[in-house]
């Protein structure tokens, strides 16, 4: 086969049916095969006489039957926001926890975080609830409550030992994400933040298709300033466009570092191509702000504390408050209800 990505699997089909797996074929796919997963599988002209015809024709097609149950379960949630980035380690989870803490400062709001990073869940540690387990009641699984109005769900709560590796292929990961949406008793909530792993694969496809019916407000893209990161974020924006997810805007994390000794500002991850701001402009999406690199944010995450409570006067905190307000604005909310001024 020549090196080419001309997909035998059309992107639209992958996007609309993320859980469908290919039927087991008894013979190689013939020339002009419509694809064993396509809508016309087993029915196209080229299928006549193919030994796989009956298998392909009887494979399940169409939308997932569990989607109405998910939509019903999530009907009490007002706003759903995805936190995305093509790149790992740029601060998706950190930003998710900060956004959640910020939304939760308003005692009238209830906030939930769903951690869909199955192989590398970080939310429980950052929230200081790593040792918790899930309680199951008649109504479903209960999220782990960090504050009275801030609940979390993650695969970490289901592991017998905290260092256990979750060695799962795609379909199994999709199954768990479905359970998080279908079986967790989220209840009445103002915000559900969905933290994701890096990339554009199974987890993203399933989150998108499961939430499509119940409606997503949009996605916040997190990046760091250097082009190596922006390159992957570009791919994620491309994914959002293809999947029809609104991009609320780009946040640039780890943007500049002020030396604690001489207060000289260094660009550790240099924005050689203009950073998040230039990418936002290029892609025609809002730029939500830049958050400087502050070692105390990392420390707060390691100890499971809220950075907002621990260092309310730091420049990073001020920048983050600005970003949170901008996220609210892009969602069509009034800044003072999202994050009241002190």
């Amino acid at each position: 086969m020549a090196p080419s990505l001309e997909a035998p699997e059309p992107v639209e089909d992958v996007l609309s049916n993320p859980l469908k797996s290919a039927p087991k074929l008894v013979a190689p796919e013939p020339e002009h095969c419509p694809g064993p997963e396509s809508e016309t599988a087993g029915k196209a002209d080229s299928c006549a006489g193919c030994p796989n015809q009956a298998i392909c024709a009887s494979a399940p097609k169409g939308p997932d039957p569990d989607i109405p149950a998910i939509t019903a379960r999530l009907s009490g949630i007002k706003h759903k926001v995805l936190i995305l980035s093509g790149k790992g380690g740029v601060g998706k989870s950190t930003f998710t926890t900060l956004l959640a803490h910020a939304f939760a400062t308003n005692p009238d709001s209830t906030v939930g975080i769903m951690d869909t990073d199955i192989c590398g869940p970080s939310i429980p540690k950052m929230m200081g609830v790593e040792e918790e387990t899930i309680h199951v009641s008649g109504a479903g699984w209960s999220p782990v409550w960090v504050l009275e109005n801030l609940g979390v769900m993650s695969v970490q709560f289901m592991l017998p030992n905290r260092n256990d590796a979750v060695i799962w292929r795609g379909p199994k990961k999709n199954g768990l994400i479905k359970q998080f949406l279908k079986d967790v008793e989220w209840g009445e909530m103002d915000f559900l933040l969905v933290d994701t792993p890096p990339g554009t694969s199974d987890e993203h496809l399933s989150v998108n298709s499961f939430l499509k019916e119940s409606g997503v407000d949009g996605a916040v893209m997190v990046t760091t300033p250097q082009e190596v990161a922006l390159l992957d974020v570009r791919k994620e924006i491309d994914f959002c466009r293809k999947a029809g997810i609104k991009v609320l805007g780009i946040v640039e994390n780890m943007s500049g570092f002020v030396c604690p000794k001489c207060t000289h500002q260094s660009e550790i991850f240099q924005a050689t191509t203009g950073g998040g701001r230039a990418l936002a402009k290029e892609m025609n999406i809002p730029f939500l702000g830049a958050v400087p690199l502050d070692p105390r944010i990392g420390m707060a995450c390691d100890y499971g504390e809220s950075f907002f409570d621990a260092w309310p006067d730091s420049p990073a905190c001020t920048a983050l408050r600005g970003v949170v307000r901008r996220v609210g604005e892009e969602m069509g909310l009034k800044p003072e209800t999202v994050l009241p001024e002190d």
């Binding site: 093509g86 192989c119 890096p198 694969s201 604690p260 240099q270």
Partner: protein, 307 residues
């Protein structure tokens, strides 16, 4: 299999994203090449390939040859200077546009990993480094399965596991170490990346993401600790723009005096002429990696002889 003429296979793994797997892979490769070895890099991060960008060969394409795909050359061997050849294979070379998303489910990724392992014509190689995406999922399972099935005895030397010092990162990396145990992959050692940052203005070292977390983790899991790699913005500049690294007087990195090699003018980002491998020699991280590479080579040789 196309790996038949490859002497040693080394995986670069991490449970956490953005800790520097690709940057460590790049530097291991440069360092091995400077030690005179022929090196190949296989990038199996399908949805976020970084290797083409790090070597400044984003616009290169893979060519088809009888019997398989030809990897993209970075530089040829230069026996006079003691430099070994370096070539790469990545999904990035197969994309039409660099910003295109690769939206693939597990089975498609598995098929691609298989194809990368069986259809690339590496030729004679001393080392093949395999750069991976974060996590313990499709790509990793497929890689482990394929290598178990098809690699020659003693060929797979093991994995270099990369972490950053914070607890949030080591928590995920511990999962990767458990993955290695479960799949029978030998852990060559742990590298702690982004361990400290030397201010270019006052040469004060700040531990931005804390320090020492990787060493403690290695001890806990009884695996070798290969070393700490500090953050060097000059390395970022080198790979992003091709500019030769420059350091102000008095800069010390891991005890090495960097000295001054030119006027430190951060405003220019012109691409200096010359090969990346030549320019890397004066980067502060080169001696750091020389030490790490020596340990990796020793471990690899020991493993190859033991079987």
């Amino acid at each position: 299999m196309s790996l038949d003429k490859v002497k040693h296979i080394v995986l670069v793994l991490s449970g956490k994203g953005g800790v520097g797997k690709s940057s460590i892979t790049t530097q291991l490769a440069l360092s091995l090449s400077l030690a005179g070895h022929s090196v190949g890099i296989l990038d199996i991060d399908l949805t976020g390939p970084s290797i083409p960008r790090l070597f400044g060969i984003e616009s290169s394409k893979v060519t088809q040859a009888p019997g398989g795909w030809l990897p993209v050359p970075v530089h040829a061997a230069n026996p006079a200077a003691g430099i070994g050849s370096l070539s790469c294979m990545s999904l990035g070379f197969l994309l039409r546009e660099r910003g295109d998303a690769v939206v693939w489910r597990g089975p498609k990724k598995t098929a691609m990993v298989r194809q990368f392992l069986s259809d690339v014509l590496w030729g004679e190689l001393d080392y093949l480094l395999i750069d991976t995406p974060p996590g313990t999922s499709d790509e990793h399972i497929s890689l482990a399965e394929e290598l178990l099935k098809n690699a020659l005895p003693g060929q797979v030397a093991g994995a270099v596991v990369v972490t950053t010092p914070q607890a949030v990162a080591t928590a995920d990396v511990k999962k990767e170490l458990n993955f290695c145990t479960k799949t029978g992959i030998n852990v060559i050692g742990v590298v702690e990346n982004m361990s400290g940052f030397v201010c270019p203005n006052c040469s004060e070292c700040t531990n931005i993401f804390n320090s020492g977390g990787g060493e403690v983790m290695a001890e806990e899991f009884s695996v070798k600790f290969l070393g700490k790699v500090p953050i060097d913005p000059q390395f970022v500049m080198l790979v992003e723009t091709g500019r030769r690294p420059k350091y102000p007087p008095g800069t010390q990195v891991n005890g090495h005096e960097m000295g001054t090699n030119g006027n430190v003018d951060y405003s220019t980002d012109v691409k200096d002429p010359g090969l990346l491998v030549e320019k890397y020699k004066i980067c502060s991280l080169a001696p750091v990696f020389e030490a790490i590479t020596k340990q990796v080579m020793a471990a690899v040789e020991a493993k190859a002889q033991g079987t």
